[in-house]
């Protein structure tokens, strides 16, 4: 919690900012001060801690002095729901945001719904419930005030935590009525504000953990330290398909600070897996000791023999397998509108292109870790997890401890990107603690993390389009394959916009573990699809934006099929907006400009990207990005998410890959796995949100998928060279 925002810190800060900013501050009543020094708006709010808190429900505590604590229910991975979700409650509660303290809620499936960070859905699914929560508490506070003042409820109004009776000029603070309010029954549903009356939602509020982050406060799982805590690391097999044959730990056990070396298995016999239990290496060796460095040294001295359980895989085979499959066999038909084969036979022009992308690691900056303290009948866990409710279910089965005796608390996470949906590291920590009979913090080295799996699958897709003599799109075929699973969403654009349309899917099983990676499937297919549309627009002799808009018009006015997963008007809307904002000109060819648009996580994104080429190396100068995600709760932070998705997407499209030789990942740290860096990042990103008052939709993922195509199309515009295979800068021979 932000209880560290004490008066003492604030006074210290005031002195410094007065000197550094050159302004003058009189006394401590800063908020009333008109002329602010340059930096003083970056003060943490001053919270005089109350004597008594009243818990209103699982979400809100009101102090007798009017300070309000709002719990943030969902895990925080950097998507900033820890600021946005409490903002929604505060809005309907009608309190002063500067009077709010935010606390991370623990896992509590009775009090909170869907405590998951995934699918960009925290705000979308939380929206109505969070509004009702705030509004209901406001309702009982007003009811209590009406009793105290002996006036009808209808004569009372609220503003920033004060309930006023205009006729008599009397008022009460929330803190003064909270004790009475808790005795009043909370109704099933209460009215919420008209969005035009919002005073917090739609305003940029700074990250509630910002002050702690810039001071290096212990916020993350890796920072956890508890009395008597041991440090543990694991060693997993070096190659997918291998398992432990034998372990000689005699040397490691004798090293300084080492407590024990043990084998643990997170999948005991009779255990019932959940979807989050993705793991190529159920059995690992754990080294436990006093300090991290001692454990790291002992880990190097383990002598483990491995044995092959399933055949080793190679990247060179992966892509030839996918290509052969698509070329020589018929996939599982996911959708077929019209008669595609006839339409291709009748087409004037046919364009066919194949796109691919490799496995990717998530590479959260904070490696996997978890704290666990497991005793005979209780388990206490603390750490970075996107799916605490699923971890709880797994722990119940693996530890043999009932759910009610398991507590899970989420730390702030040093990135998620989907990796921490799969909580095997939490289970490992719990098993190590159980065996050691001691509190334990498990830490993965970067190498253990990067080579563990749970990767984004490798994908390939072949697109084929038929055009008539006027350049109209008459036939469209998508053949999508993945190791494992097809990346194609059969009912997404351009489904519904083409009379003759077919999707075929192929699945190649693998012993490499894979999982959701920021914007699953979309992260590849959007780049392929939007690159291909650019190419067929050119073949049709049309401007790439006009070409896309024609298809949206068709999908809007005369859609093909009934199951089209998008709103063509909103889709076209972002494209038109970015066209206008970027000053798109159809005659601007050759200037290094590319366009792309995509819909995922219930939101619409369109981008125009400007690139300059230095030989074969692209440098992104500017990205214009239009976004329709409905109501934007926290615009500054929302822009940050969009920027991050763009940088992330550009980086992975250009640089990143996990490849395999005999099942061994060939990249294990940032010297071999390249992530985008500062100098390679776009110089400028402009973001334009559509203001349509619709309920909010996803934000953490949607800007990533289309950007790879905006880049590829811009590079083509600048250089005449098209990129089909990610990562664009890597010698594709490496990928087979």
């Amino acid at each position: 919690m932000n209880a560290n925002h004490t008066n003492k810190q604030r006074r210290q800060f005031l002195k410094v900012s007065a000197a550094a900013g050159g302004g003058l501050i009189f006394g401590f009543n800063f908020m009333a001060c008109e002329s602010k020094p340059a930096l003083a708006e970056f003060l943490p709010p001053e919270h005089q801690m109350p004597e008594v808190w009243k818990e209103m429900n699982g979400f809100v505590k009101i102090g007798d002095n009017g300070v309000v604590t709002i719990m943030s229910p969902n895990p925080e991975i950097g998507q900033n729901v820890k600021t946005a979700m409490p903002m929604i409650v505060a809005e309907e509660l009608d309190v002063d945001w500067d009077n709010v303290i935010v606390e991370q809620a623990p896992l509590d499936t009775e009090k909170y719904q869907r405590q998951i960070a995934g699918g960009s859905q925290s705000i979308r699914f939380g929206w109505n419930g969070l509004r009702q929560t705030g509004a209901k508490i406001r309702h009982v506070l007003i009811a209590a005030a009406a009793k105290q003042l002996d006036v009808p409820v209808e004569e009372l109004s609220t503003d920033k935590g004060i309930i006023s009776h205009a006729a008599s000029g009397r008022s009460l603070g929330y803190g003064e009525v909270a004790a009475d309010a808790v005795t009043i029954e909370i109704p099933e549903e209460v009215p919420v504000k008209d969005p035009k009356d919002f005073t917090i939602i739609g305003q940029s509020k700074k990250n509630v953990d910002g002050f702690d982050i810039v001071q290096g406060k212990p916020l993350f799982g890796l920072d956890v330290k508890k009395e008597g805590m041991l440090i543990a690391m694991i060693t997993h097999p070096p190659a997918f398909g291998m398992k432990i044959k034998s372990l000689d730990d005699s040397k490691a056990k004798g090293m300084p600070g080492i407590k024990d070396v043990i084998r643990i298995n997170v999948e005991p016999e009779g255990w019932n897996p959940q979807w989050s239990d993705v793991n190529s290496y159920p059995e690992v060796v754990a080294i436990v000791g006093n300090t991290t460095w001692e454990v790291m040294q002992a880990k190097k001295e383990l002598n483990i023999q491995w044995e092959t359980e399933t055949p080793a895989e190679n990247t060179t085979d992966h892509f030839t397998t996918l290509a052969e499959l698509i070329k020589t066999s018929k996939g599982e038909v996911a959708r077929h509108d019209g008669d595609v084969d006839k339409a291709f036979a009748d087409a004037e022009t046919i364009v066919e292109k194949t796109y691919s992308a490799p496995f990717l690691a998530h590479n959260t900056m904070e490696p996997m870790n978890f704290f666990a303290n497991v005793t005979a009948d209780k388990a206490e866990l603390l750490g970075p997890i996107q799916t605490p409710m699923f971890l709880e279910g797994t722990l119940e089965g693996v530890l043999g401890i009932p759910k009610e005796n398991i507590s899970i608390m989420m730390t702030r996470m040093g990135g998620g990107f989907g990796r921490r949906l799969y909580g095997h590291f939490g289970t490992e920590a719990a098993l190590i603690s159980q065996k050691m009979n001691a509190p334990v913090k498990l830490i993965y080295t970067r190498e253990d993390d990067m080579t563990q799996g749970t990767y984004r699958p490798a994908y390939m897709v072949t697109y084929k389009a038929g055009l008539d003599t006027e350049g109209n799109l008459t036939a469209f075929e998508i053949k999508g394959a993945g190791i494992p699973g097809s990346p194609v969403f059969a009912n997404r654009y351009p489904a519904g916009a083409v009379e003759n349309y077919r999707v075929e899917n192929y699945n190649v099983p693998t012993n490499i573990s894979t999982g959701a990676w920021r914007a699953p499937r979309s992260n590849f297919i959007a780049t392929a699809e939007q690159s291909f549309l650019d190419e067929i627009a050119e073949a049709a002799g049309k401007d790439p934006i006009d070409f896309r808009l024609e298809l949206f018009e068709k999908a809007k006015t005369n859609p093909v099929g009934e199951e089209n997963d998008y709103d063509a008007e909103r889709y076209a809307g972002v494209l038109k907006l970015v066209k206008e904002k970027a000053g798109w000109s159809p005659t601007g060819k050759g200037s290094g400009r590319g366009v792309s648009a995509y819909y995922c996580h219930n939101s619409y994104v369109a981008q125009v990207l400007d690139v300059e080429m230095d030989g074969d190396t692209p440098k992104v100068k500017k990205v214009h990005c239009a976004v329709d995600c409905g109501i934007v709760v926290n615009p500054g932070s929302a822009k940050n998410q969009i920027e991050g998705g763009i940088v992330d997407g550009i980086g992975h499209a250009l640089y990143s890959a996990i490849t395999f030789k005999n099942g061994v990942p060939q990249q294990s740290n940032f010297d071999s796995y390249k992530l985008i860096r500062h100098a390679e990042s776009p110089d400028e990103i402009d973001v334009y949100f559509v203001d349509n008052g619709k309920d909010p939709t996803g934000l953490g993922e949607p800007s990533l998928p289309p950007i790879g195509a905006a880049l590829a199309n811009a590079v083509y515009d600048a250089s005449g060279k098209r990129h089909y295979h990610q990562p664009f800068t890597v010698n594709q021979e490496l990928l087979g």
Partner: protein, 152 residues
């Protein structure tokens, strides 16, 4: 094991550790200064950046024995109250997403500005290039360094 005398954030401390232990793990495990982060262990990501005699170094790859007689400054020692111009600029631009790399970014930026109070865009890009931000907050980091330069 050896007893080593260190100066950390202006305080003299003695630690009893294997002298080859990287400064990072002495800070985190022995001195409870966990603001300095572990990211890669091979000086590739910059999450562990500290100042050694005022210069930005990767604490994951410098043995603690070589810090004897030198001044170590960590993120916790940059200011008592987030008042350092770089920290202030980071808040002004609301830079962090997950926040894990930001202590390292701030330590690199503050060392840069001490040596070069008004860096050009390309000098900022070069100086900050060793610090990975997986969330992709680079454009904000860049803007924040410029703001900090203005306010230093």
């Amino acid at each position: 094991m050896a007893k080593l005398s260190l100066s950390v954030n202006g305080n003299s401390v003695t630690v009893d550790v294997d002298p080859s232990t990287p400064i990072l793990w002495v800070l985190r495990d022995h001195l409870e200064l966990v603001g300095t982060k572990y990211g890669c262990g091979i000086a590739q990501c910059g999450a562990c950046t500290i100042h050694l005699n005022g210069n930005a170094v990767r604490s994951c790859s410098v043995p603690v024995s070589s810090a004897e007689g030198k001044e170590i400054t960590t993120i916790e020692g940059l200011s008592d109250d987030a008042s350092h111009p770089v920290q202030q600029a980071w808040i002004a631009h609301d830079v962090p997403q997950c926040g894990y790399c930001q202590a390292g970014q701030i330590m690199t930026a503050s060392a840069l500005l001490k040596d070069n109070p008004s860096p050009s865009d390309s000098e900022i890009s070069q100086a900050m290039n060793g610090n990975i931000c997986r969330c992709g907050t680079y454009t904000r980091i860049h803007a924040a360094v410029k703001t900090a330069a203005k306010n230093s």
